[in-house]
Amino acid sequence: MPSLSTGPRTLGGKLRSSHNAFRHGLASPIARVPSAAVNIDRLATVLAAYSNDYWRIENARGIAESHFDLARIRAARAEVLWRVGGLENCVGDELNQALSALEKIARYEQRTRTRLRRCLEAI
């Protein structure tokens, strides 16, 4: 029976893997970002038209969070392209790395847009 991995053993490996979840920061909920939280609350209140209905407030919040999340995703995408020196200078391995990173970011965008669409339909 093949033995399963028990994770990194060396200190260097443990340090490296401890940062696995913090690569681009897109996995953490946008509402936990202090600078965005205040703006999300304000926007959600207006989108809910100051209603007391629970579902309306929840959907308005979903829309507000999705839009701020999309802004964060765009910034992450631009950061990837910036790191490889812009569009014109991106060749060879750097191009492949950039495309791979952008594909990963695209998954987060897909998820956010699905949520946005669902909230827009429901509100």
């Binding site: 926007l43 989108l47 812009g86 695209a106």
Partner: protein, 210 residues
């Protein structure tokens, strides 16, 4: 273009952005070399002027559409840049394939090095090595053939970028449909309310009179 045409005050008052949406508009767009903030805000101004967003929801969609359009243009530029950067590689391939010494055993390395050097020089200066260019054309390698070669060299990254491009176009279509549906509903709702207001149903009148 300088980056001082669109100040936060101008954007706030000229565009008439609702306060709650303002942070999304004023958040400095993360730009790449060759892009300016003014270009972005000019595009936003055009979008706002065309769509004329009315509600906060429409404003959010307009901003999203502007960004999608901006990214579509970015992907198009990227595709062109990749093809241009692979043009030298395509030229190099064409040069060593048409080299007179290609049949000589053991000369491959030298021919490749020479082709690479010529290709780089010809990419920088189109007038360099006119004789080599003429020979290439006599073998059927004109500008279109070299471009086609560059396209073949870049097919893998181009396919991925095309995927991003079509995804952005699809998202833009979805956002437009959302705005259209909402506006259409609002128009019909307003029309219905106006009709009810000016011409109440007869049954209701009769009930009132009764």
């Amino acid at each position: 273009m300088t980056d001082d045409l669109y100040t936060p005050e101008k954007i706030k008052y000229d565009f008439e952005v609702p306060d709650e949406v303002l942070p999304l508009v004023l958040a400095h767009p993360r730009l790449l070399p060759g892009e300016t903030r003014d270009q972005f805000y000019l595009m936003l101004e055009l979008m706002v002027g065309t769509i004329l967003p009315d509600t906060e929801l429409e404003w959010l969609t307009t901003i999203d559409l502007t960004w999608l359009q901006w990214e579509i243009q970015r992907y198009r530029r990227w595709k062109n840049a990749i093809i241009m950067s692979n043009r030298a590689a395509a030229l190099e391939t064409a040069l060593w394939e048409t080299h007179d010494g290609a049949a000589i055993v053991g000369a491959t390395k030298m021919i490749r090095a020479e082709s690479k050097m010529h290709a780089q020089e010809m990419s920088i200066n189109p007038d360099a090595h006119r004789d080599v260019r003429a020979k290439l054309e006599s073998h059927g390698y004109d500008a279109d053939a070299i471009n086609a070669g560059a396209f073949v060299h870049s097919i893998v990254p181009l396919t991925t970028i095309e995927k991003f491009l079509s995804s952005a176009r699809h998202q833009a279509m979805m956002a437009l449909r959302e705005v259209g549906l909402r506006r259409e509903f609002e128009r019909r709702a307003r029309e219905a309310m106006k009709r009810v207001d000016t011409d109440p149903p007869r049954e209701a009148n009769q009930i009132e009179e009764g």
